[in-house]
Symmetry: C2
Subunit: 612 residues, 2 copies
């Protein structure tokens, strides 16, 4: 007996065909759910040279076995595909109410291919699904789409995931928005959605999630709730949101400033306390979350309600651009939310433009304007131009890799890994972070590779035998980085918020009692490793090799200030150790045949090593 069915909706937007995809128990057991299951489902469809915006590229929405249960912090969704920004495996997760509602609509996920001939939205309700016309929604922003759909459907209880103008215009880092300010931000999956003319997915319903062992789950859920409430970070995030990290991170040299060339900046001007006190910001939460890390600002410059900004956003539009005008950060964030644009790639691209402008590589003539550091109004204006693909905004919207190519700038100064812009945790402050960025399945990713949280002690996995490491050293980082990545893969498979401080033991017990299959902490690690490797195999098919596992020099060269002064991660050392630990092939950057077979990824073993 098991309670997790893995019932996916399969939709071909080209033909209009809708059917239910029943998954094999063995696949569910091995891939669990979420982004891992999405990778398994997509694997066969991805051919070398596959274009992200080709109609046959899949777009997958996937919940997991935890979604819909009463376990805290599980209303999360993975959205996966081939990234229009990076051209390789792409994924992003989001919270809010939509993930819970999608499950309650009767589906564990949606597998979408094809391209509609006119704007459409998908309407899911208690096991039924329809493709509906969205012509009247095309061109309007994400807040308005959500409102309009709720009004039209005369149901305030529905939840909507949608794209804004940025996704429609296929800006390569357009995102998917839901429940007002929640975002599946990274990898440009909003552009992928836009390429299919899919404006929104609407979920409605009240179907219950079955559990293999309800009684035991009641007990484990109660314990889990106590655990997350008891953790010391809980009241801190509740009080000040993720922006609380601004001041702490700055002291550690972990907040990059002036496009990765500085690490000293008046953090308190734009930190969690400043947001709270300046705007009387209040807290908000994803469905069923006792932590409430999200922020809401009412009556902001004449706008009824804006959301965020989160730490990553404020760091990217703030210190990275040498901008401490909090007002402009909140506004740029709101525009990104409304237009559906990834704040992180936007902030890094704008900061890069400022850096290139200062160095004379981006000229006033080419830019059509002065692009000086720290100009908050300019940042807001550039966000608008990126969304509208207007003037220099067209180039900035392509991300830093293509900006460097187009402007013939030093590629070592383009702050990305595999095309994905660097997050706002400086790789010099936690050297393991550099390794995680270089090897992350979607490129530079702080969520899969949260080595910094592990070294800070705010994430711990004693069951897997790893301990916090010296943050300013490069030796011995491979095992921790790999296990941290594996473990985060599991979170994105279940799905579970990264801030849920549940132990591997608690998670494996709950997964066992939800599904009816036995899992141990070691099984979780293996499932995570399997997920990393199938995603790697997809990206290998799309051209990723070892030379792509790298960090741009500007993000790792030693600074002359701050708490990381004079320190630089040793990429060669870490990567060698990592490849050894992962059993990846040093020549090609592919998982070894042996490793793929060991993880029961037989098809990938055949595809990647045809002659063996």
């Amino acid at each position: 007996m098991f309670g997790y069915h893995g019932k996916f909706l399969q939709v071909d937007l080209g033909t209009g065909e809708i059917k239910v995809l029943e998954l094999k128990a063995d696949d569910l057991k091995k891939f669990i759910g979420g982004s891992s299951l999405a990778a398994m489902l997509m694997y066969d469809r991805i051919k070398p040279g596959q274009s992200p915006l080709s109609p046959d590229t899949p777009l997958v929405f996937a919940t997991g076995p935890f979604t819909g249960t009463r376990v805290p912090m599980v209303s999360r969704l993975a959205i996966c595909g081939i990234s229009p920004l990076t051209g390789i495996w792409g994924e992003s997760t989001t919270g809010g109410t939509f993930p819970f509602k999608l499950k309650a609509s009767g589906f564990d996920g949606i597998f979408i291919t094809g391209k509609a001939d006119r704007p459409v939205y998908l309407y899911l309700n208690n096991g039924k699904a329809e493709i509906r016309d969205a012509s009247s929604l095309w061109g309007i922003d994400t807040y308005e789409v959500q409102k309009k759909l709720k009004d039209e459907l005369q149901d305030a209880g529905v939840s909507v995931a949608c794209i804004g103008p940025a996704g429609e215009k296929m800006v390569p880092y357009a995102c998917v928005m839901n429940d007002k300010g929640r975002a599946a931000g990274r990898c440009g999956l909003g552009a992928l959605m836009g390429s299919k003319k899919l404006k929104a997915v609407v979920a409605a319903g009240n179907l219950k999630t079955e559990l293999a062992n309800k009684e035991k789950m009641d007990e484990l859920t109660k314990q889990a709730r106590n655990t997350v409430i008891s953790h010391y970070m809980n009241p801190i995030y509740r009080e000040l949101g993720t922006l609380v990290y601004m001041e702490l991170g700055m002291a550690l040299g972990d907040v990059p400033a002036k496009y990765f060339t500085k690490s000293v900046f008046p953090a308190e001007k734009i930190g969690g306390k400043a947001l709270k006190e300046t705007y009387n910001a209040t807290k908000d939460a994803c469905y069923g979350c006792p932590m409430m890390c999200a922020r809401v600002v009412k009556n902001f410059n004449g706008i009824d309600e804006v959301h965020g900004p989160e730490y990553e956003t404020a760091a990217a539009f703030g210190p990275l651009c040498m901008n401490y005008d909090l007002n402009s950060i909140v506004m740029a964030n709101h525009l990104c939310n409304a237009y559906g644009l990834d704040t992180m790639s936007a902030g890094v691209s704008i900061a890069y433009a400022m850096h290139l402008y200062e160095n004379g590589i981006l000229t006033k003539d080419r830019a059509g304007m002065e692009i000086e550091w720290g100009n908050g109004d300019l940042i807001v204006r550039l966000v608008e131009m990126i969304v509208n693909r207007q003037g220099i905004g067209e180039l900035l919207g392509q991300g830093v890799r293509r900006m460097a190519e187009e402007l013939k700038a030093d590629p070592e100064e383009a702050a990305h890994v595999k095309g994905l812009e660097l997050p706002m945790h400086d790789a010099r402050a936690f050297q393991g972070q550099a390794l995680c960025y270089a090897t992350g399945p979607r490129g530079a990713c702080h969520l899969k590779g949260s080595h910094y949280r592990f070294d800070l002690g705010s994430m711990a996995v004693p069951e897997l035998g790893i301990a916090p490491s010296d943050r300013l050293k490069s030796e011995g980082k491979a095992e921790v980085s790999a296990i941290v990545q594996n473990y985060n893969e599991v979170f994105d498979s279940l799905l579970l918020c990264k801030f849920a401080t549940l132990s591997a033991t608690q998670i494996s017990e709950m997964l066992s009692n939800i599904t009816g299959w036995e899992y141990t902490p070691t099984d979780l690690n293996t499932a995570g490793e399997r997920s990393i490797n199938i995603k790697r195999a997809i990206s290998n098919k799309l051209g990723v090799s070892r030379k792509d596992d790298r960090m741009p020099r500007i993000c790792i060269q030693a600074l002359t200030e701050g708490s990381t002064e004079g320190k630089s991660p040793d990429m060669g050392l870490m990567l060698k150790e990592y490849y050894d630990y992962r059993k990846w092939d040093w020549d090609t950057g592919k998982p070894s045949r042996q490793k793929l077979v060991e993880l029961s990824l037989e098809q990938a073993a055949i595809d990647l090593w045809p002659s063996s």
Copy 2:
């Protein structure tokens, strides 16, 4: 071969006799050094009914095998005796330069008994020792004593540990001061020193510390230095001192306010940032420490230079007294330093007076004044009155246990364990902290029982198989509490600063290569356990039983505000588990005979269990 000699100076201040005490290698190996070795040395001298202020009560200064080496953060000293405040085992550690200088003077420690017939000081210099007249120093403050002795000896390189007027007047919680603002604060060992008419110990010399394996130690020392510098807390403490915890702790409900009845208070008014910005406070360090957590304020209200305050001090004179006048906190701290008074016991006693006054138990008539909450000037005045044993200051100087007795107040509202006032980490914020306080060898102690640091992830001992726990739960705390206490015992035996984030593996390797004896992380834990048990045996001789392992109700009853709202530790549950884990006897509160024998504490086994 071994490099750690354990050469103690034995001084009888009554007879003036001075000799060298050579210790047995087996004792050194088992007790390591510091407070553990001091307990072993004192053990036979302590009889039931022993009065702390009796001339034959020993006063021990002890360094350890790490002192004098180039390992970072090791210039620390343990001062031990029977506490004039609590009447049981008493100890306190201090940093600065004095510990290093004591070792360089040729002695690992000093074992002092007797009482001089006039004020004296001890002068140690390159293996020689003298008792010298200190009549001209009696009555002057600790800053002045240090300056005068350096001037008289015409040697700015000497280091001085001394008492101030509070110690001379035997205020029960008088402390020992050295190197300007460094304090061996707790347990009233300054009063014990005062009872012996010992005004100061002066250390001079340049003798080197031998190492069993110098080459290996060079390598391990370099690694250790990298480890402590790389830890994420290093730049935070360097930048803002220990006061940086004020805001973080307040968010967690860990900073007690209004005499343990509140946990919400405007922390930022008196936090590390406020200190830095208000007074342009600069950093200072103990000898050889790369962290530099100490603070110095120049030109404070006409005083050239004042030190601190540390977090514990600012919390006690601040939120606990509902006082956010930072100026008064800095001033009260400075007076305590100059007069030689423990800031923690002083702050808790003053806050208790405010609480009793509000409740009509301490009347205006008895107090001779109004004692209202939050009056900074009053706090400064009360510190002066405590030191001078003047008016109500005489009673406040006795500590909260005797205040409750004298005023016939509810003993459950006297915030102490075994007579030692509670530290400034709220037992409701980290429930394991309550267990550590209840069972700590010197009473309520946040340094031996730093469960909060363990749960916060800023202290980790993966080698000993323990993991951070849910802070708001009481289940399963015994093992972590016991191992945290054991491990901190080792730090106080080596001696090593509690902020040194070295792993148990690093510590045991260094100890092995300093002494020439092999230690593993498990050996360290056993040595710590031995130390805990011999100290417990001493206190058992002095009357401690299980009923003393308790927390006053006011410090654990659930609050109606803040992040611990409604939560209260379950003392019965935790103590039972702790006794089981420690193999202590539930009826008597003594270590079981079996446990004492297992730890090779045969004499204690005979003394505590004579009929067995």
